[in-house]
């Protein structure tokens, strides 16, 4: 009975195969680590909006509180985009002829909604709750960045599962007194404040899957 033996010419390609395997592994490593990384695909995502609304102007310069527009952020899972009516509270009197505001006036007149483009888009199987975070002392800036300095809003954080879990494992780094929840430039004066607030607000973020996935 003959036993199979590799023919001699295979010796020549041994090196090439070895290189392909090692190189392929390295390539896969690069793709998974960088190509699929949320940092590569998401952070900095800055779509063009139908209305050139400037958070830098409204929040940064004029000092409008986040909750003036994003009203139910403290009660509900969603932090809603404001109704056209909210815009018109002021803009029925200010800049009533501005061409930039034409879509807003159009929406107000026709009753058709303004079609904003979603910037912070979580997958449909992840259930994020704004109220649960905001009422426990996680500030807006922690996830959305310095919105008060953004002319056009972009995604500041990766919003990946690993990023969520970093905070769920060590929430004290991101806690602040609830009265400063919308303050964009708040800095802790006491280095141990986070730990104290964690105690005070009874913050024990769960790491269970069903916390976010149902």
């Amino acid at each position: 009975m003959s036993v199979f033996q590799f023919p001699p010419w295979t010796n020549k390609i041994k090196f090439l195969v070895g290189l392909a395997v090692a190189g392929g592994g390295f390539y896969a490593f690069l793709i998974v680590n960088f190509g699929f990384s949320p940092a590569t695909t998401d952070v900095g995502y800055q779509p063009t909006q139908p209305v050139p609304f400037s958070h830098a102007l409204h929040v940064g310069e004029l000092g409008v509180d986040c909750r003036y527009c994003h009203t139910t952020v403290e009660q509900a899972t969603h932090s809603p985009i404001p109704a056209t009516q909210t815009c018109m509270n002021c803009h029925s009197k200010i800049h009533t002829e501005s061409p930039k505001l034409a879509p807003v006036r159009e929406s107000w007149k026709t009753g058709n909604p303004i079609e904003w483009v979603r910037v912070h888009d979580l997958p449909d199987y992840a259930y994020f709750n704004h109220a649960a975070h905001v009422t426990k002392g996680v500030g807006c800036v922690s996830c959305h960045g310095r919105v008060d300095q953004m002319e056009v809003v972009y995604q500041h954080e990766p919003l990946s599962m690993g990023w969520c879990l970093d905070c769920h494992k060590a929430p004290e780094q991101h806690l602040r007194p609830v009265e400063h929840i919308t303050a964009m430039d708040w800095k802790p004066t006491d280095p141990h404040l986070g730990t104290k607030l964690k105690e005070l607000y009874n913050v024990n973020p769960s790491l269970d899957c069903s916390t976010c996935h149902r």
């Binding site: 949320p38 695909t41 998401d42 995502y45 779509p47 139910t72 009660q75 509900a76 899972t77 969603h78 809603p80 985009i81 404001p82 109704a83 056209t84 009516q85 929406s107 107000w108 009753g111 058709n112 909604p113 303004i114 079609e115 904003w116 483009v117 979603r118 910037v119 912070h120 888009d121 997958p123 449909d124 199987y125 259930y127 709750n129 109220a131 649960a132 009422t135 995604q155 769960s206 269970d208 899957c209 069903s210 916390t211 996935h213 149902r214």
Partner: protein
């Protein structure tokens, strides 16, 4: 203990199992019956694609479009232009409304998410629902979004438009107005609506020569006529089950079929606590296994026709016990009594009833003739029950004739040319009228036929014009419950299509401009004691739909508006019940002697003398829900049949006829015949065949069958052998086997937990179910103790279990658990429907059910015990029990199923790779695998409407993903959010999973087992609380409470 042991040897799940049939062996050895687990591409697979039930698709995930963030498509956010007051985006709200069926209303509380209703529950304030909800009402949400619903006006079956119809109508109306409605007939279903009744009266005075006929298949004319014979005209009998210690349910189902069934169930369940030392005792004497029969302590199978002699015999026996009864009738001869177990039953029943005078109750089902009802009323009165366990309500005296007689008259008028114009409101007589009337042929003789209906069905196909009807959830209406409670039905959304409600169409025919809303509001305010004259003057409230908060009620501009907003918010107008007639007395009447055939013992019955009864199987009703896949796939609670009806035969009848399950038989009577498959149901009376109505529809839709779309219809239509003179029973059926076979999709052997061997079955049945009598339980409260039934592993510390991969600790404050009381489950299937609609459970289709791939997360296991001809049934709800020591978790290679700190067994869909190891390792077989993309149909635009029902808080599962009960995790989260917003700790009762919420008898209780005072903790501490398969040390979070039957010692040995 000895009685348990002897019973233990008798449990069996089906006749196959009892017979050690090779088919059941197939189920034992494999998870799925079919070896070829995935054979797509066949014709049946395409059929299955058509059958997808109400569930959603993957929104617009059309590949990797990198224009959006990350890997998915760009999404738009469309905010309101003006946000309605009180609306919080992303949060659900509940609104009170009504479900009307058969002329009675049931209060609903409908959950709405941003303007689209997604879930139906019972209105806790409504006396006919008390927070629970029937299967039909819950499933009607799927009907709202059924893409097969009629969407446009049809002329002679072809699409037309409103303009052409209006032109036709004005010509027709001109003629009708001139002749006062000569030869105009209206056929409608009986309605609970007071406003419709008013509009009807207006219509009849506008067209004085017109006639109005009411008809529905499962009408309660027999019941009404029975009350009339017994208590005089204008009476209705209402039961007070709470006070009844002895209940005798006679060939009906007071726990599911009655218009007040939910209240009965609650009151019956409240008195099923053996720990209270006393339980009610339920007897069932019936021709078909009803849910009352399943729940009963004693059951006697009896042919439909035998109930009259049975009651006469009971009357005689009660007289012998010294009960004064006026009746002159003779007791049937001893030959009748000798048969079967009847004599023993009559004796024991008479003794029990005589000993419990004033605390007993006899109820009769609507299929029995009026005389039998009157007779039962007489016995109730003689036993002193009047004013205690039943009361007589004064209602408006009935003016219209019996519905089956009325439709017969209508059909003969149509045949003799006395009808020129036929207006059909909602009804589907071409399908539902009995075969003798040949209603379809009669329709061809009518010139103008206008049909208003939710579907372009069989009747629409024959009509000159078909108009789409507005769904009940999209229009203003009202209704009265069985006891008279008046409620307003408010719309939950704008009509999806251009359509008319019945009220709107009648107004249009009368040329009136007023809106249904204004009329309903005026009726409601009148019912609430307002002054109708004052209403005329004032402007109608413009913002009623915002009226679901107390602030909105207070903000209403005037008193009438405040009253209106309040009654719309609550869903009831208090103090509108029909008055109790305290002076009601029993009339004198006599009962015609029973015919000799009914006295025949079943042993003497020959082929050709059999009777057939026509039943409502709780799924498709009279056929109107035939296009509802979720209902079609609901396993019948006794037969476990899905997608079909069958001729239900007792095992002995089947033996006599030499037929087996799935063989086609021809039922022949009076020259007419129908052919349908056999299904042997233990407990069916010998010589009595039961067949469910509502199947075999010709024009129902993509699910319920349609000749037009060439979709085969599930089940078989038996109208041909029905007669309007005897609508629910016929005698003298000849049965012949045709030799053909038919595949019935029954789930009865699926998920057979018994995996180690058939010989072990008796012993192992008791690892799952435990049952005993009240007396035995009081003697031995710990009868359920697992160690008595199986080898038991030593129990280690609570909340700390050694696991293969390290110890799990349950540290969180809340530890969720559930308790299911088998003594209170009546097998009504409402919990399954609640779960289906809450959790977007897909419909798999008949061919998938045949492979054991039904998707319902919750199932009702049905166990027979005892004699094959006269068994008892134990019904056990089984969903994931959330084992603390879960075997599924230990085998998942990707950690897609694992425990939370609160004791939930999580299923992480987006991690699941579909190995199905967890399913194989689950000892209770509660996991469901998505073999196909059950939402594929949603890719077509016309089916997109189904997605409107989807609960936004539940993930839609894709092909290749495992799923199972989550204890309604979304509800746990919501309750926690609410408590946090209100800055208070979670209270017991804040969280109710969908199944527990809808359970009429509160058999399912959920809560925190860490909280010593929670209901679930207390129930789990009862001596009869046990975990299924205790010997495996699963430590399930769902525990069962053993079934206790309140056995009458006199009947125990019969």
């Amino acid at each position: 203990m000895s009685s348990i042991k002897s019973k233990a040897e008798n449990y069996w799940r089906s006749l196959d199992e009892l017979a050690e049939n090779s088919e059941f062996q197939g189920y034992l050895h494999r998870e799925f019956k079919d070896v070829n687990v995935d054979a797509p591409g066949s014709v049946s697979r395409r059929r299955f694609m058509q059958l997808m039930g109400a569930s959603l698709a993957l929104s617009s995930a059309s590949g990797c479009i990198l224009e959006g963030p990350g890997m998915w498509a760009k999404e738009k956010i469309l905010p309101h232009t003006r946000r309605p007051a009180g609306l919080v985006p992303g949060q659900t709200k509940s609104y009170a409304t009504l479900f009307n069926l058969g002329g009675f209303s049931q209060g609903l509380s409908v959950t709405s998410y941003e303007g689209r209703p997604i879930k139906i529950e019972g209105n806790p304030l409504h006396p006919a629902s008390l927070g629970a909800c029937s299967t039909y009402a819950q499933a009607s949400i799927l009907g709202l979004y059924d893409p097969d619903r009629s969407q446009q006006i049809l002329q002679g079956g072809k699409p037309s438009d409103a303009k052409t119809f209006d032109k036709y109508l004005s010509k027709l109306l001109g003629k009708l107005k001139a002749n006062g409605g000569q030869n105009l007939r209206v056929l409608a279903e009986p309605s609970a609506s007071v406003t419709l009744a008013k509009v009807k009266a207006d219509f009849l005075s506008a067209f004085p020569k017109a006639t109005w006929t009411e008809f529905t298949t499962f009408n309660r004319d027999n019941v009404d006529e029975g009350a009339q014979i017994a208590f005089g005209a204008g009476t209705r009998v209402r039961y007070n089950v709470a006070k009844a210690e002895i209940i005798v349910n006679l060939d009906g189902d007071f726990l599911t079929e009655h218009p007040e069934a939910l209240r009965h169930t609650k009151e019956w369940g409240d008195n099923r606590n053996p720990e209270a030392g006393k339980m009610n005792r339920l007897y069932a004497v019936e021709s078909h296994f009803s849910s009352s029969g399943v729940s009963s302590d004693h059951r006697l199978p009896l042919r439909h026709e035998q109930l009259k002699p049975f009651l006469l015999a009971l009357q005689g026996a009660l007289k012998a016990h010294g009960v004064t009864i006026e009746g002159p009738e003779a007791t049937p001869n001893s030959g009748f009594l000798k048969a079967h177990k009847i004599a023993a039953w009559v004796k024991a029943l008479a003794k029990d009833l005589a000993a419990n005078q004033g605390k007993s109750l006899l109820t009769v089902g609507y299929r029995q003739p009026a005389e039998v009802h009157a007779l039962a009323h007489r016995l109730n009165v003689a036993l002193g029950n009047l004013g205690k366990t039943l009361s007589v309500l004064g209602i408006a005296a009935k003016t219209n004739s019996n519905q089956y007689r009325a439709i017969k008259t209508l059909a003969s008028d149509m045949n003799t040319g006395k009808v020129d114009t036929l207006l059909i409101l909602g009804a589907n007589p071409a399908y539902s009228a009995t075969g003798d009337l040949k209603f379809g042929e009669a329709m061809n003789k009518v010139k103008n036929k206008i049909h208003l209906g939710l579907y372009a069905n069989e009747t629409a196909a024959l009509a000159t014009w078909h108009l789409p009807e507005t769904h009940a959830l999209a229009t203003w209406s009202d209704g009265r419950s069985f006891s008279g409670t008046y409620s307003v039905a408010q719309p939950l959304l704008e009509p999806l299509y251009k359509s008319h409600s019945q009220i709107e169409l009648l107004l249009k025919l009368m040329g009136r401009e007023d809106s249904a809303y204004a009329l309903v509001r005026a009726t409601a305010l009148t019912m609430a004691g307002g002054n109708p004259a004052a209403l005329e003057a004032e402007k109608a409230d413009t913002a009623p739909s915002a009226a679901n908060t107390d602030t909105a009620v207070a903000a209403a501009p005037n008193k009438n508006d405040r009253t209106w907003r309040k009654l719309v918010q609550d869903g009831i107008v208090p103090n509108t019940d029909y008055p109790v007639k305290t002076d009601a007395t029993l009339q004198s009447f006599s009962i015609t002697p029973p015919n000799s055939g009914s006295l025949n013992s079943h042993d003497n019955l020959k082929n050709g003398e059999y009777e057939i009864t026509f039943i409502d199987d709780g799924k498709v009703y009279d056929g109107r829900f035939a296009n509802n896949g979720s209902l079609q796939e609901l396993p019948d609670f006794t037969t476990k049949l899905t997608w079909d009806n069958a001729a239900l035969l007792s095992p002995s009848t089947a033996k006599t006829l030499k037929v087996n399950d799935g063989q086609m038989i021809k039922l022949e009577i009076g020259g007419q015949s129908v052919t349908l498959p056999v299904y042997t149901l233990p407990g069916q009376p010998t010589g009595s065949i039961a067949v469910a109505l509502g199947y075999g529809r010709e024009e129902a839709g993509h699910v319920g069958g349609s000749a037009k779309l060439s979709v085969a219809s599930p089940g078989f239509d038996v109208s041909a052998i029905r007669r309007s003179s005897s609508a629910f029973q016929r005698k003298g059926v000849t049965i012949t086997a045709t030799g053909a076979d038919y595949e019935l999709a029954s789930t009865q052997n699926h998920h057979a937990i018994d995996d180690t061997g058939y010989q072990e079955r008796e012993r192992r049945a008791h690892t799952l179910i435990r049952e005993t009598s009240l007396a035995e339980y009081q003697k031995d409260p710990g009868y359920v103790d697992s160690t008595k039934y199986e080898h038991h592993l030593p129990v280690i510390d609570k909340y700390k279990q050694e696991q293969l991969f390290g110890a799990l600790e349950y540290k969180a404050d809340h530890q969720w658990g559930m308790s299911i009381d088998l003594s209170k489950c009546n097998g009504c299937n409402a919990c399954i429907m609640a779960c289906n609609t809450e959790n977007i459970v897909p419909v798999a289709g008949k061919d998938q059910v045949l492979k054991g791939r039904e998707m319902q997360w919750l199932r009702l296991d049905r166990y027979f015990a005892g004699d094959e001809e006269d068994p008892t049934i134990l019904s056990q709800p089984v969903a994931c029990v959330h084992c603390e020591n879960a075997p599924c978790e230990q085998v998942c290679p990707v950690a897609a199923t694992l425990h939370t700190e609160e004791g939930l067994n999580d299923m992480v869909y987006n991690r699941c790779v579909g190995t199905r190891y967890c399913l194989n390792n689950c000892p209770l077989k509660v996991r469901r695998f998505n073999y196909h993309n059950y939402h594929e149909d949603l890719k077509t635009p016309e089916n997109k409407v189904k997605t409107m029902q989807f609960n936004p808080d539940v993930t839609v599962r894709f092909r290749g993903v495992m799923e199972k009960c989550t204890y309604c995790i979304q509800r746990i989260k919501q309750a926690k959010d609410t408590a946090r917003n209100e800055k208070r700790p979670l209270a017991d009762g804040d969280i109710t999973p969908a199944c527990a919420q809808t359970c009429g008898s509160d058999a399912i209780v959920f809560g925190d087992i860490n909280d010593k005072n929670s209901r679930v903790s207390k129930l789990r501490k009862l001596a009869r609380s046990y975990g299924m398969l205790g010997g495996l040390n699963l430590r399930p979070r769902t525990e069962m409470l053993g079934k206790i039957r309140n056995v009458n010692p006199d009947l125990a040995k019969v």
